[in-house]
Symmetry: C2
Subunit: 331 residues, 2 copies
């Protein structure tokens, strides 16, 4: 293998044609003699020609890079999402530029800037940015954006499910099963004030929809409250939340735990032995194949990743996918 990389120019010389012809062959455009084309392709293969993407991007103005901004890789969701994004991007000839925001709004903006400086074809973002104007002005400036996981306020294309409706349906299912006490387990809610936790807020709204309460009312009644025959409790702080789950499980009333994320679902599983119900949300990875089968919402991560890429590249307006409520054995 030679040390310097071979270029179109070299190839032109080698084949005794002009670089224009090389280009026609390499990018199989029309208007070229099949024989010369074959000759060129053979030479390219023989000499190990690899096209310089930077030059291509610079010259053509469009790159084959898709930027992906996610919070981190600590949960199943971002990993799974990234996997399907990468697969679809690859399939369509694009590469994936990943950056982690670590839930920092500033970092997220830095990522966007860096991505723009590389002329990415577009950006798929699980955003924490709360200022809706930011992405709107980017879009206005010609940068393509698609939001996943967390919806961005304003009219940024979003690919995902209707989290609110899903949680509402999920909760209504639990109510229909005759539980007398519902415990909503969402410690992450404590961050709602300072961060865009979009999907989690939506889910909580769905829960409130189902039990016929507004958030305002909830605030005035405190964390524990009741409505009709049913008692409710919301675990909305990280502080010793596992202990609180265990405590709730001791109630004499038929209790079900409603988890808006399987991160919490796993913490509730031990309560099954006390006869409690548990319903989850996400159903990614191993948790989807538990025995007994877990009840809850299956999040279509695979589809979301794929469709986000398609939406980005084909210029769609985003879309709301159907969710699936699994009637398992744990509720």
């Amino acid at each position: 293998m030679s040390s310097r990389k071979i270029t179109v120019k070299d190839l032109a010389q080698l084949c005794g044609v002009s670089i224009g012809t090389i280009d026609r062959a390499i990018n199989n455009r029309g208007g070229i003699n099949p024989e010369t084309k074959q000759k060129i392709l053979d030479a390219a293969a023989k000499y190990g020609y690899v096209k310089n993407q930077n030059a291509r991007t610079l010259s053509s103005g469009s790159s084959n890079l898709i930027g992906v901004i996610i919070f981190n890789l600590k949960n199943e969701f971002p990993s799974a999402l990234l996997t399907s994004i990468e697969a679809e991007a690859s399939r369509r000839g694009y590469s994936t530029l990943i950056m982690l925001s670590n839930y920092s709004e500033k970092t997220e903006r830095d990522c966007v800037t860096r991505m723009r400086s590389m002329n990415v074809a577009g950006i798929i973002a699980m955003s924490v940015v709360t200022d809706s104007g930011y992405y709107e002005s980017l879009i206005h400036g010609g940068t393509r954006i698609v939001a996943v996981g967390n919806r961005i306020v304003g009219d940024i294309p979003y690919v995902g499910i209707d989290d609110r409706a899903a949680m509402r349906a999920s909760t209504e299912y639990v109510l229909a099963r005759g539980y007398e006490r519902l415990v909503y387990v969402a410690p992450l809610l404590e961050k709602a004030a300072t961060q865009n936790i979009g999907a989690q807020s939506e889910r909580f709204s769905g829960f409130l929809d189902a039990i016929g309460l507004t958030e305002a009312k909830l605030d005035s009644t405190g964390a524990g409250f009741s409505s009709g025959q049913v008692e409710y409790e919301v675990i909305d702080r990280y502080d010793s939340y596992e202990w609180r789950i265990a405590e709730c499980a001791k109630s004499p009333r038929r209790t079900a735990f409603i988890c808006p994320s399987d991160t919490y679902t796993v913490k509730c599983l031990p309560t099954l032995e006390r006869g409690c119900g548990v319903i989850g949300f996400d159903r990614l990875g191993i948790i989807g194949s538990l025995i007994p089968e877990l009840s809850g919402i299956a999040y279509p991560t695979e589809d979301i990743g794929r469709l986000a890429v398609d939406c980005l590249l084909d210029g769609g307006q985003g879309q709301i996918l159907p969710y699936e409520l699994i009637f398992g054995k744990t509720v």
Copy 2:
């Protein structure tokens, strides 16, 4: 925000200087009047100038992209590794281009080609390629490569621990605790023939070292064998391996499960209740904070990611990091 991106040329016009001066200011090189520099930087900020990395790379010949090839994102290790690589790369002003090989040698090579076509500064790879000549010729051709997770045969720089020594120490510790039966749980070994499962093979060698057996001998004795007072068994196939774990746990002899990956460790945890011992390998994520504390090797993923980036950028020869044997409560 204007629609067209502003360039050095525009900036030069705006500031009434030449593009050479703009360059000196933007890349803060010497030989420029502090005042003009400030004026230029102000203008750049004001007009939202973002440098075109493709042009920079094309012109300078060096990019700020680091390619990372991993099998997939389904386990804790690649996710954690990617996290630390991304952090260090970011810190040093580099971005991370991730591609998944899905354990396919062909895909891995495609990834390498695509990365080379983008002029990445270098590639960090968890490789499955078995042909050592491949990467060697790449290196010879000027591409920087650092292997992590799986060592690549030949003298490709590798950053990681000495897996063999670690497993040997781990096994010796178990032996010293007086167990009468050791079950090595490594179904992945069934892939050894067709794939570079490097680290896993090393670990198995370490296990054999500890019990004073060679692989050849093992082969001739079959999966079950004994040496001195101690009995050994190797679970080296995926086929109903969880059931086999459960069966092994029923033995009247004091049994310990040796897991060369925590993927298997979690499957063995239920046997603790029968008085069995379990020792793990990796200790990533939640498993590191289990109660009772898990015995086993802690894999320094954080350091590996960071050092792999440094090694790649600073041209080191790779390095073997110290491992840590945690004397937990499960053995």
